[in-house]
Chain length 604, copies 2
């Protein structure tokens, strides 16, 4: 299946239109300014700065450029255009004669190029290639595309022809999927060949030259890609690898490879994913650990990992057309991704904890303990490792491409995400009116331009309504559509969710959800200790739709353990009724510091 470009699919109004406006007016400029202040744009001129920039900083800029290209295609903005143009010019001007470009290496370590597997040169290259695709596709700007062509030639020469580099496989995957994007845009075989090379060589070397302490498990180099069955190592790297594997499977029809991606996806979603969609539970190595190890307070769940996981969902939906990939995309979209940016659009989480014990956090932060992981209790403007903010801005701009999927040969059209938007191309014209996430009501109009098509609307995973025309997770409609309105109410309800019994941390606990949203309680809304709350059911939950960025608030009748002085007693706890105030998880930590909780004891 294919998805549609931003030229074809556009968000029109509603919840996500507001978030795109915030992205355009606040987040994209804010990220630019932070990057400008920290020398990430200036270093593109390849002149020394003090302090020096990071070897990965070009990737930050590249993701911002990619976002800017998407944004400028939907909305002209002279300031952003000027920033974009200057950066593109600097990159092209300072590309070496041989094609290489990395502002850090050229400036600080010109003799160490391609010697350090952990140093993200190919990762930066990949992001620049993605920016090149965006610029060419949406702005008809081929400057970065020409840059990429020359750079790929150089990489190909070094890694494939001469094989004279200090390592063989990229330490941080990304270039593989970028090369497939270049190929899909240009159909130049060399891009595909190089991507295939990087993928096929993986796992065939016991040990690459690794000057940093990257274990093979950290970068998914432990097995040939078709033999990988368990998601391991750094979560973002894993996702970028699996995306490239799906891309390759789609391009080549390699069934063994498709099967591997399905197995890896299931391993993540059945054993290693937070209820928010967040992945990579360990702060050490930002990685996957063992099945069902999903601590709440120390959860890592990097924003970039959620975004990368959503990209993987998209590729799997393209590869298979199955509804389950849309389910997980939706989980990520409304929870683990959206929590990465503040409601004012200018502050960011890198780590997205499922619980905030603020006194504990403050204790360790106050003691400046470097090796005890203490999650931030408030989003901040900038990180030294600033991968997440520009990933958010490009993701929000790309969102329209994840709404629809189509197999035009089979005349099949899938609506995966209920986002108020319009679609217009040679195949169909369509529009969606969605009240997500405030309610489950959606209306769709499709004009199939005279031909008979199969229209499939994804039935959200949280929907327990029975439909007559349901099949394999979709509502199926067949016929020639002339713009008739199809309205469905998926009936969002406040529902309690439960984790698999194997999850130590959440055994006997429950989380509150409404449609795609996971809810949480914050101490700023509740004048009792969140540790003391237990939940019995969601039947009398009172949902309040709001006009602010929270979209929804919830009052849930719950139970509160009565105060006791003793630390341990033999009396089973006495409870009193309380009203638990809850907000969507994505909106937590936008007010004063305090506690936050998602999983509560389930008291039947």
């Amino acid at each position: 299946m294919k998805n549609f470009s931003l030229k074809e699919s556009r968000i029109t109004d509603g919840f996500w239109a507001s978030r795109q406006t915030l992205n355009a007016e606040h987040t994209i400029p804010a990220v630019y300014k932070r990057f400008k202040e920290t020398g990430r744009f200036d270093v593109l001129k390849c002149k020394k700065q003090d302090p020096p920039t990071h070897y990965g900083s070009d990737s930050d800029v590249a993701k911002w450029l990619e976002a800017a290209a998407y944004l400028l295609s939907r909305k002209e903005d002279k300031q952003i255009r000027a920033w974009y143009d200057e950066a593109v010019e600097d990159i092209c001007k300072n590309q070496r004669e041989d094609g290489y470009f990395n502002s850090y290496y050229q400036t600080y370590e010109p003799n160490e190029i391609f010697t350090k597997r952990g140093d993200h040169e190919l990762y930066c290259a990949g992001h620049l290639f993605e920016a090149a695709v965006a610029g060419k596709e949406y702005l008809n700007d081929d400057r970065l595309l020409r840059f990429s062509e020359k750079y790929v030639d150089y990489i190909y020469e070094r890694f494939v022809e001469k094989q004279d580099t200090g390592f063989v496989t990229p330490g941080h995957e990304e270039i593989e999927l970028a090369l497939y994007r270049l190929y899909n845009l240009t159909k130049v075989e060399k891009y595909k060949t190089l991507a295939n090379h990087f993928l096929n060589v993986r796992g065939h070397y016991d040990q690459c030259n690794e000057p940093y302490n990257h274990s093979i498990l950290d970068s998914q180099n432990h097995l040939p890609i078709r033999e990988q069955t368990e998601a391991v190592g750094h979560a973002v790297r894993a996702m970028y690898l699996y995306i490239a594997m799906a891309d390759m499977a789609k391009l080549t029809g390699d069934e063994e490879l498709r099967k591997a991606t399905e197995i890896l996806f299931d391993d993540v979603t059945q054993k290693k994913m937070y209820i928010t969609g967040g992945i990579g539970s360990s702060h050490h190595g930002e990685r996957f650990t063992v099945p069902y190890d999903l601590e709440n307070y120390t959860s890592y769940a990097e924003t970039c990992a959620s975004i990368a996981f959503a990209f993987f969902c998209d590729r799997m939906q393209q590869l298979t057309g199955e509804a389950k990939y849309g389910h997980v995309f939706e989980r990520l979209l409304y929870n683990g991704i959206l929590s990465g940016v503040s409601l004012d659009g200018e502050h960011f989480f890198y780590v997205n904890p499922l619980e905030m014990q603020n006194e504990r956090k403050s204790f360790f932060a106050g003691h400046q303990v470097p090796f005890v992981h203490s999650p931030l209790s408030k989003r901040i403007k900038m990180f030294d490792c600033a991968c997440c903010p520009p990933n958010i801005v490009r993701f929000i701009e790309q969102l329209p491409t994840y709404i629809w999927y189509a197999d035009e040969e089979k005349n099949e059209l899938i609506l995966s995400q209920y986002i108020s938007s319009s679609l217009s191309n040679d195949f169909v014209d369509a529009s969606i009116t969605s009240s997500f996430p405030q309610s489950g009501k959606i209306c769709v109009k499709v004009d199939s331009k005279g031909k008979k098509i199969t229209l499939k609307l994804r039935i959200p995973q949280w929907c327990d309504k029975k439909f007559e025309n349901a099949k394999d997770g979709y509502l199926v409609y067949e016929g020639v559509f002339n713009g008739e309105e199809i309205c469905v109410d998926f009936e969002m309800k406040v529902r309690l969710a439960y984790a698999n019994g194997n999850v130590w941390q959440n055994s006997g606990r429950t989380a509150v959800t409404y449609g795609p949203l996971v809810f949480c309680a914050e101490s700023t809304d509740n004048d009792f200790a969140l540790a003391k709350v237990a939940i019995s059911d969601a039947q009398n939950a009172v949902l309040e739709k709001t006009n602010d960025e929270y979209a929804l608030r919830l009052q849930l009748p719950a139970y509160l353990v009565k105060n006791t002085k003793a630390l341990y007693t033999f009396e089973s706890p006495e409870y009193e009724e309380c009203s638990l105030q809850m907000v969507p998880y994505f909106a937590w930590a936008n007010r004063e510091d305090g506690d936050m909780r998602v999983w509560f004891p389930y008291r039947k």
Copy 2:
């Protein structure tokens, strides 16, 4: 109140007699051998070794010597006597002319003496003084006592008279309580004066000379001792300080100081103690964190901290005579202390986790992640920092001194710990027959030698039986006792315990207890995942008394979450009945590696 010496109080049979036999025949020799192998005894000759020993190693030897002195007073053993004598000779022979002794500093850093607050010189000195007290009191060996006299003169000169040292207060408390022990034995004022000095100066310096990164909170130097109201910092150091404060309060009648010790004790027991009695929840700094922060898997609960806490209970019972101190001592004795040594007596835990997620532990251990705290799942023979094993051996030998307390002027006699034993001295003769921890039945015979006394038997905290003669936590008997047998059944029952509602980690959870014992389940006894178990009640628990070191095993009807593939569902978990096999917490990890759990979801 006073307690009684090992000359007066002796364990006769039963559970603790077996543990004393194990201590004598296995643990004391095993600890000696490990210390010999690692150069801790040889370095007493103050000759360089490769690799060098640790600056704290004399304290390890000193605790072993103290244990050996206690042991030799109850049971001659030529081999242990020879080891003891050789070490004492070496220490005395190599004491410097000026009185100083520290094998590490004399050998490796003679020019750095008393310059590094974090380097445990005064801590080592303190332990040597305690060994001196034991040797003099029980073996009439005054060699280490003469050594101590000379050493104290040197310390007094440097820290009080010249004040030319690199720090002012001991970085690791211990010497203060040791000096009070020296004073109590010898009545030499200088010991008390120096102890008082170290205590009174504490908290009056904002910053001592600290070449290591010891924050003032780590060593309880943040406030003058009488103003300290919250247990902070390194748990062992805190306990040793509070013991010395209690000692000083008892010697001086300082009410303000007594009040401080009571407040600190309550802070620990009401907010910062595991159900096993373990304290110091953070591996970072081995310390107290914030109230109610009691993680299970990452719990630290160092064996030494439990032992030190038991010593503190003893001092508080001496100071106040209150039953609550006996309650906590009992909790520590049967759980957090005893878990520190294996059933074969030759393997040790430093960290005593409340939960073992073995797959998670193995993952991080396999990745050799230095800064992620992974508890050991099996006791080991030796640690680089080997403070716990010799602390256990001296504690087990000292146990008879914690059974009885008396105020001879008021003719009051308190029986605090139900350990089969005899007491004989000028005040009374007595004997106890106890079936603890297998049942709550005890019998006591007292001969009060013609005088009228008040006999008080502590009513254990877990006992819910009503007694007519109960007062302030004691059964009170008055009269002249002529050896009549008083038998009481405190009626141990399997009971569920609950943590305070403020404990995030245990909210909605319950632990299984029987009398003083906390029980746990191990995966080696159960063919299902412990993560899936929930407990409803303890009414149909089947208790099996065993003749092996476990003493008891328990089968508890419980519930098991049915298997589901999905990681998250909206169906509340379905349960099936199961029989949960449990063992006393102290006995866990004596078989193959696996999971272990104390706190289970409570399913009413």
